[in-house]
């Protein structure tokens, strides 16, 4: 029986049309957007996609090694480092959403409505509990960048790192009645089970920008450069951008992402 | 050579030692050979070597006079090892398993099994789990299993070990009937000379891995070839020339040694002086142990039915006694 199963599986993965490996982040997958987008891409181009959702850091590392053909991440500093390695093709702006600072409904640190850097400084000064993902993800990288702007080094009993995904981290923040930085999409999808509220939003520093980066054969012999280019082309095309712009509107009352293809980074506002 | 099993220059080593060395042996079809020896003498080793089961074996096993291959031994030989190994399952399944393992069909195997269960008196146990049987019943199962394959050579390793007296007597009788088969050569390993006498036409005495004596059972049991053989077949009293003044060593069974307090002058008897060690009543018979010889290092013993005579009974350990051996009960041994 093993032989039959093995042969069937083996037959199933050879002799197929092009497949590409898309490395993306867990939060992107968790939002559910890819479940909408990827099948449409396959319908449009006939190219099958293996979507691997891991942390930003891992996704970029996979791309660097040529294990992934195209990445969709939101970690600008790491992305620029990847491009600097010289094995990438185009890096295109796809969409953005924003991060929000969430906290307990009674806002013990009193930071509601403030600018994000002031809010963080106050949280650190008052030693209010703050829960970080601590996993080198895009969200974590953004959080650390925000801390460094305030000049505060987050450390102490009040600062906790979960090493886990966004949903798990929010639950921990909920349990400890602390603050956290979250992408709006994940927060919205969990909001009804959490006692956390948005305390700071709309700050330009809270933009969460997604780029698609296509890899070339320079990264590895087996990179599907054509398929990667096809994906990059498609995700910035009108049909894909429309899908992105409509995603989540029904469920959450507002779309979770803002399509940005073709824009300049400087043009983006919250 | 006629049909049967044998060996030539058979040597088995274990852990650097030679545990078996048999230059030649032959067991003809229609006969049974008993291999008698103490524990550790190499009897089981010999049996396993004949079944081609021994690991470090040199020399040749002969089947019908020609060197035997594994294939021929598998077909012609069946062995029952010590401590009957029964498989999970019913008695019927066990008895049939020899045939099943040889590739015969279920129907045929079970039919043969039924016949042999009848012959060995275990038909009433057919559906019982073999593992739940008593020792004697298991032996019968193991034997039935081996016989069911109709071997031309049957090798039995101490089939009566661990059986109580009654069970053993019954089993000996049943086995005797079964072994009376002109097409069957049997090798029976045992440490009991009564079993050898009951079942085997020929007996071989194995001492420290070597065959010291082979011959018809009655003569082997009554005329041992040397001192070791003598002790093996029950001639516990070994009298060297220094002790007796005779030219050769003589041996005598304890049953024929008469210990008395006085010094008898008996015609036709050899008398040896010694000191009493102990008198041990053994329920119906009494054993008397004596030391003799210049240094008191020769152990002699006598066995008497009932109680010892009164004069002897009164003696203390250390008392001077004499042991007399009637000439007709003495046997000469070369060494």
């Amino acid at each position: 029986m093993t032989a039959v199963v093995a042969l069937a599986l083996l037959a199933g993965c050879s002799g197929q049309p092009t497949r590409i490996v898309l490395a993306t982040t867990t939060s992107t997958q968790d939002s559910g957007l890819l479940d909408e987008l990827v099948p449409r891409f396959t319908d449009a181009t006939g190219i099958a996609v293996k979507t691997i959702a891991v942390g930003s850091g891992q996704a970029i590392e996979l791309a660097r090694r040529g294990e992934a053909d195209v990445v969709l991440v939101h970690s600008p500093a790491d992305e620029e480092a990847l491009v600097a390695d010289g094995a990438t093709g185009r890096r295109l702006l796809v969409m953005h959403n924003d991060f929000v600072l969430v906290g307990p409904d009674d806002d013990p640190a009193g930071v509601a409505g403030a600018d994000v850097d002031d809010a963080l400084e106050t949280i650190a000064a008052t030693g209010s509990p703050f829960v970080s993902r601590g996993d080198d993800s895009g969200t974590h990288t953004k959080e650390l960048a925000l801390w460094s702007v305030t000049g505060t080094d987050p450390a102490g009993d009040w600062y906790v790192e979960t090493g886990q995904g966004m949903a798990a981290t929010l639950r921990v923040a909920d349990e400890r009645r602390g603050y956290a930085l979250a992408d709006r999409a994940t927060y919205l999808s969990q909001a009804d089970t959490l006692a956390l509220e948005v305390v700071v939003e709309g700050d330009p520093g809270l933009l969460n920008v997604y780029h698609v980066i296509e890899m070339t054969a320079a990264a590895g012999d087996r990179v599907e450069a054509d398929g990667a280019a096809a994906f990059a082309d498609w995700i910035v095309s009108d049909p894909a951008q429309e899908t992105i712009g409509a995603f989540g509107a029904g469920e959450f009352g507002r779309p979770l992402f803002v399509p940005d293809a073709g824009k300049d980074l400087a043009d983006l506002t919250g | 050579m006629t049909s049967g099993i044998g060996c030539r220059d058979l040597v088995v080593r274990a852990g650097g030692r030679t545990v078996l060395d048999v230059p030649s042996l032959e067991v003809v079809a229609g006969t049974t050979l008993a291999v008698l020896g103490r524990n550790g003498a190499g009897k089981s080793t010999l049996l396993r070597a004949l079944a081609l089961l021994a690991a470090e074996r040199e020399g040749t096993v002969l089947l019908d006079g020609t060197p035997a291959t594994r294939q021929r031994v598998r077909t012609a030989v069946a062995a029952v090892l010590q401590r009957p190994v029964v498989r999970r399952g019913s008695v019927r399944h066990n008895v049939a398993s020899g045939l099943l393992l040889r590739g015969h069909g279920r129907a045929k195997a079970h039919a043969a099994a039924a016949a042999w269960m009848d012959r060995l008196g275990i038909a009433h146990l057919a559906e019982q789990q073999a593992r739940s049987l008593s020792g004697g019943e298991r032996q019968r199962v193991a034997l039935a299993r081996a016989l069911a394959v109709r071997p031309r050579v049957l090798l039995l390793d101490e089939p009566f070990a661990g059986l109580d007296a009654t069970t053993r007597t019954d089993f000996v009788a049943d086995l005797r009937a079964v072994l009376d088969d002109p097409g069957l050569a049997t090798v029976l390993v045992t440490h009991d000379r009564d079993e050898a006498a009951a079942l085997a036409g020929c007996t071989a005495l194995l001492v420290d891995g070597r065959l010291r004596q082979v011959g018809p059972t009655s003569s082997v049991l009554d005329h041992p070839a040397d001192a070791d053989c003598a002790r093996l077949v029950g001639f516990a009293n070994v009298l060297s020339p220094e002790l007796t003044g005779l030219r050769r060593t003589v041996v005598c069974r304890p049953e024929h040694a008469v210990v008395s307090a006085a010094a008898p002058t008996r015609k036709g008897a050899l008398v040896v002086a010694g000191r009493l060690v102990r008198i041990v009543p053994l329920g119906g018979i009494t054993r008397v142990d004596v030391t003799a010889g210049r240094d008191g290092d020769v152990a002699l013993s006598g066995l008497v039915a009932g109680e010892v005579p009164a004069p002897l009974r009164a003696e203390e350990p250390g008392a001077a006694v004499s042991v007399s051996f009637a000439h007709q009960h003495l046997r000469d041994v070369p060494a």
Partner: protein, 232 residues
């Protein structure tokens, strides 16, 4: 607490409504873990037999390694297998990463030490004279080995169940090596992790319950076979 109740309700609903997604994921879980367990038994029983029955140099090392393998973190196995199957890895040319076959391989690696250690114990408990006696009755070496396996079939079946149990519930290797790709390599455990990450707790619990039911079902069948044997 209501999440648990919701989970039960959701599990019931999914199963009864014949939800395609759930059945596909469940079927894949069963295929992959059964194939892995079967592979582990095919490799592990002979290896366990070798360890149990032969004296060879390093025998106790192998046994200790097998017993250690019991506690191998699936994530570690997943990592090793992933690195082997990477495009840049030694077996990259096979293109097996992120496929069900890769998951079968990784899970087989996890289950094999379990089977080896338990099979060795199972076979050591049979009388050492068993094979010689069977051969003394005329069995070939192959037949006597088969008889030996048959003799130890109860604990060998237990070893197989343990191997299956070790892999059907693991998630570390499955996610690393399979990639949790919908419709291709998503199994009950990895789907549950995803659901949890998305905050869909009732669904996650439902998936967990389906997994328990699946594992129970398989073990029920094997236990029936095992216990029927023991009554014979």
């Amino acid at each position: 607490m209501d999440v648990l109740v919701e989970g039960f309700v959701e599990a019931w609903r999914l199963l009864v409504s014949g939800d395609e997604g759930i059945w596909a994921v469940t079927a894949l879980t069963l295929q992959i873990s059964l194939a892995a367990a079967a592979l582990a038994v095919l490799l592990g029983v002979p290896l366990g037999a070798a360890v149990a029955l032969h004296r060879f140099w390093g025998r106790r090392l192998v046994l200790a390694a097998a017993n250690t393998g019991f506690g191998l973190p699936p994530v570690v196995v997943g990592l090793f297998v992933t690195v082997l199957l990477w495009r840049s890895g030694p077996l990259g040319f096979l293109g097996l990463l992120y496929t069900p076959l890769a998951m079968v391989v990784a899970q087989a690696v996890i289950a094999t030490p379990v089977v080896v250690a338990l099979a060795a114990t199972a076979l050591q408990q049979v009388d050492p004279d068993f094979r010689p006696q069977m051969e003394a009755l005329g069995a070939t070496r192959a037949r006597s080995f088969a008889a030996l396996l048959g003799e130890a079939r109860l604990p060998l079946l237990a070893a197989s169940m343990a191997g299956f149990g070790a892999v059907v519930s693991e998630v570390g290797a499955a996610i690393m090596v399979g990639g949790n790709i919908e419709g291709e390599t998503r199994v009950l455990t990895t789907a549950a992790v995803l659901a949890t990450n998305r905050g869909q707790f009732a669904l996650a619990i439902a998936l967990g319950l389906v997994l328990l039911l699946l594992a129970f079902g398989v073990n029920l069948v094997l236990t029936f076979v095992q216990q029927r044997e023991s009554l014979r």
